[in-house]
């Protein structure tokens, strides 16, 4: 099953809500948040799971019957772009054309989520540019809500980069992403050490992505495997064990995305304040 297979699915084809652990809850489907989110998946170091997060966010959008616009800022070895066809543009932020192609689009307040997989080597360039041209202020002015998903990796340089970002862009919501598979912070010492290392970061809300075992990881590899379709109509050739394992892995991640959206919806509900 791949993403070219007609998304969002037609009525009656099922959705993430219908396939979720609470079948009676169909509030997820077709509900469009009032805000235009720009999710910037980033880290100062490579191989810590930014492409996985971008992929998960994209599939979450599709699973909740919403379109999105994605940007893969790794012009050399894109991992995110090939999975979603024309939905994700591959851009090179080293040149002005690439900057225009991505940043101008990010500032369109059309309620369509934008998802950026920021190449680690473009990390400094992008945030430097954002500061130089006033990207985050402009976004706020246009009704766009940027969200930085900073991926922890436990290195001191990573912690320092997180503090620098928080100091440079104090008003920008940041989530600290811990991908236990790509960047295991605890190692053999386990969760306690991981929590200690995460505590060294600025006090952001966290997003946790559990580690997968080798068989599950391998099953995730093919570019044409759609995680949103997997919930509804898993490939028949896929092992039942792998299927249920992947679903069990996806559900908590999607729940965290959902809770993020709900929190924003509550925050913007004026009658509650």
């Amino acid at each position: 099953m791949n993403h070219a297979q007609g998304w969002p699915p037609d009525e009656g084809e099922g959705s993430y809500a219908e396939m979720s652990s609470n079948p009676g809850d169909d509030s997820v489907q077709a509900e469009v948040p009032a805000e235009t989110f720009v999710f910037i998946c980033c880290a100062p170091h490579g191989r810590v799971g930014t492409s996985t997060t971008a992929r998960l966010l994209s599939d979450y959008c599709l699973a909740t019957r919403r379109s999105f616009a994605g940007f893969d800022a790794d012009p050399h070895e894109p991992d995110y772009a090939p999975r979603f066809g024309e939905r994700v543009a591959n851009v090179d932020l080293a040149n002005v054309q690439g900057q225009i192609a991505m940043i101008d689009r990010l500032l369109v307040a059309d309620r369509e989520p934008k998802i950026v997989d920021l190449w680690s080597r473009s990390f400094t360039r992008f945030f430097g540019l954002a500061q130089e041209i006033g990207f985050f202020d402009e976004a706020r002015g246009k009704g766009v809500t940027p969200v930085i998903l900073f991926h922890a990796d436990g290195a001191e340089a990573s912690t320092a980069a997180a503090y620098r970002l928080a100091a440079t862009f104090p008003g920008v919501e940041t989530l600290l992403v811990h991908n236990e598979g790509a960047a295991p912070l605890g190692g053999q010492a386990g969760e306690r050490l991981a929590n200690e290392r995460l505590a060294a970061y600025p006090p952001h809300r966290r997003l946790k992505i559990r580690a997968l075992d080798a068989a599950m990881r391998q099953a995730l590899e093919p570019n044409d495997l759609s995680l949103s379709w997997l919930l509804i109509d898993p490939p028949r050739e896929m092992s039942l064990v792998v299927r249920s394992g992947l679903r069990a892995w996806l559900q908590p991640v999607f729940s965290q995305f959902r809770s993020f959206e709900l929190r924003h919806a509550f925050d913007s509900a004026s009658f509650l304040s």
Binding site: V96, Q97, Q99, I100, I103, D104, L129, E132, I133, F135
Partner: protein, 242 residues
Amino acid sequence: MKPAVILVGADKGGVGKTTISRALLDYLAANNVLTRAFDTEFPRGTLKRFHGPITEVVDITQTADQMRIIDTLNAAQVKVSVIDTRAGALGGVLKALRDVGFLDAVKAGEYSFTLLHVLGPSIASLDEISEVAPYVQDANYFLVKNHINDTNFFEWDPVTHRHYFEKVRPSGELTIPKLNEMSYEQVEISGVPFSTFVANKTASGDPANQSFVLRGYVRTWQAKIADELNRVKLLDLLAGRD
């Protein structure tokens, strides 16, 4: 405030005189200084293309046009006049200003005179400096290094420096930073002042559809130029404040 003339010039072409004049007009407008401009690139007038409403194209070698500039300095409501000289005309313009008595009037304190001398990357620019020396004794004389077209400037060899600066003492140096080619070209195509481009407006004041990235680059570039002009206290010089 006494009437002020700011001359932007160089004898060499292609060093960015008009770009600097445009940036200067934006800076003055941003600081609420009413300004008029004269474009001596007769009859074409590149500056007029960008700042049409406040710019007149003049042939500074003609008496009638000299009168249009000089004789109206006192009468005009607008007290600051920017003159953008065409390539190769700096010496001629300075001579014309001397011949009509303007430089004497500056010496007598009637007018304020500022020369922004835009340098090219070659040693010929140093020769230009000595050529303008006789005309700038009473002027605020600034050497401008324009990096907008990626010019690499020669290092100022101390001996050469002394030789050329025996006769002239510049008030200071201004450095115009580089603006990336794409942003520059887009403003050129739009044919509007830099500030209008940044504000995402057309020449007629309607909303435009310019790239935010390019506007951001231009805004940052303008801010750096403003920092430079603030550093040399240009507004104070124009207002006659020490």
